[in-house]
Symmetry: C2
Subunit: 149 residues, 2 copies
């Protein structure tokens, strides 16, 4: 069991690498049916004729898998991973059979001015497939607590 | 059936309002079990003691529901909704019983310089609960096709 991290434990440049998650055709279609019912996420033949040229996972599915990897095996913050928001891009689509891993890098650690017990950490989380190619790059601001003294 | 929109049909300031989607306790927990297994998304008692002060949906669940509303009843782009990425914030959590609606506003319409058949539209999508409060604000850049002449 890893110790939970507080504001004082975080430093710019720290890296965290998650476990991995394999993405199946069935999972891509199940997510799409529920949240992103577009032909290129649901049907191989339609996807082949689309912009994607083949079945592709919803970007929101990639985002959700990224969160799962972060929660289960990423940076372990005391109090949990609570995001205020961020920026994300999908440089390429997640495909059936891809195995995803998330590499997180601390970009900034900012104590709160108004609330001494908390702060924010800015983290760049790159979700990579089995070839090391980025399928999502997300920079997010997360709430982090100061160690009780 | 609404006509599908092309680059030429889009103008800065256009507004699109989606249908609505009710968020249940069961759906919040099911999404969390699969993608964001943290106590404040899974268990009422643990959530009451957390930052959220009660059960809250994962931000990624709010994002996924937003996508569902956009696909089913939002801005209808020819070729589908294909996002390149964007920025998002969660001003407050989605809660059990919330009924969400997405209001989308076109912020920019940009023809591609290198590829005459396509362009990008920048859209601000505000996901609101039944009290009109924003639970997610997302500004995203989406691919849009020019009408074949």
């Amino acid at each position: 069991m890893t110790t939970e991290l507080h504001l004082e434990d975080l430093m710019v440049g720290q890296l965290f690498t998650s476990g991995s998650h394999a993405v199946t055709v069935e999972a891509i279609k199940a997510f799409a049916r529920q949240f992103d019912p577009q032909p290129f996420h649901l049907d191989e033949a339609a996807a082949a004729q689309s912009f994607f040229g083949g079945l592709a996972a919803s970007g929101w599915h990639t985002a959700a898998i990224t969160m799962k990897l972060l929660v289960e095996s990423g940076m372990r913050l005391a109090g949990g991973l609570i995001g205020a928001g961020g920026e994300l891009t999908w440089p390429q689509a997640t495909r059936p059979g891809d195995v995803l891993t998330v590499v997180s890098e601390v970009l900034a650690v900012t104590p709160s001015r108004s609330r001494p017990e908390r702060g924010f950490v800015t983290v760049k989380c790159e979700t990579r497939n089995q070839r090391g190619e980025a399928v999502q790059v997300m920079t997010s601001r997360m709430l982090v607590w100061r160690r009780k003294s």
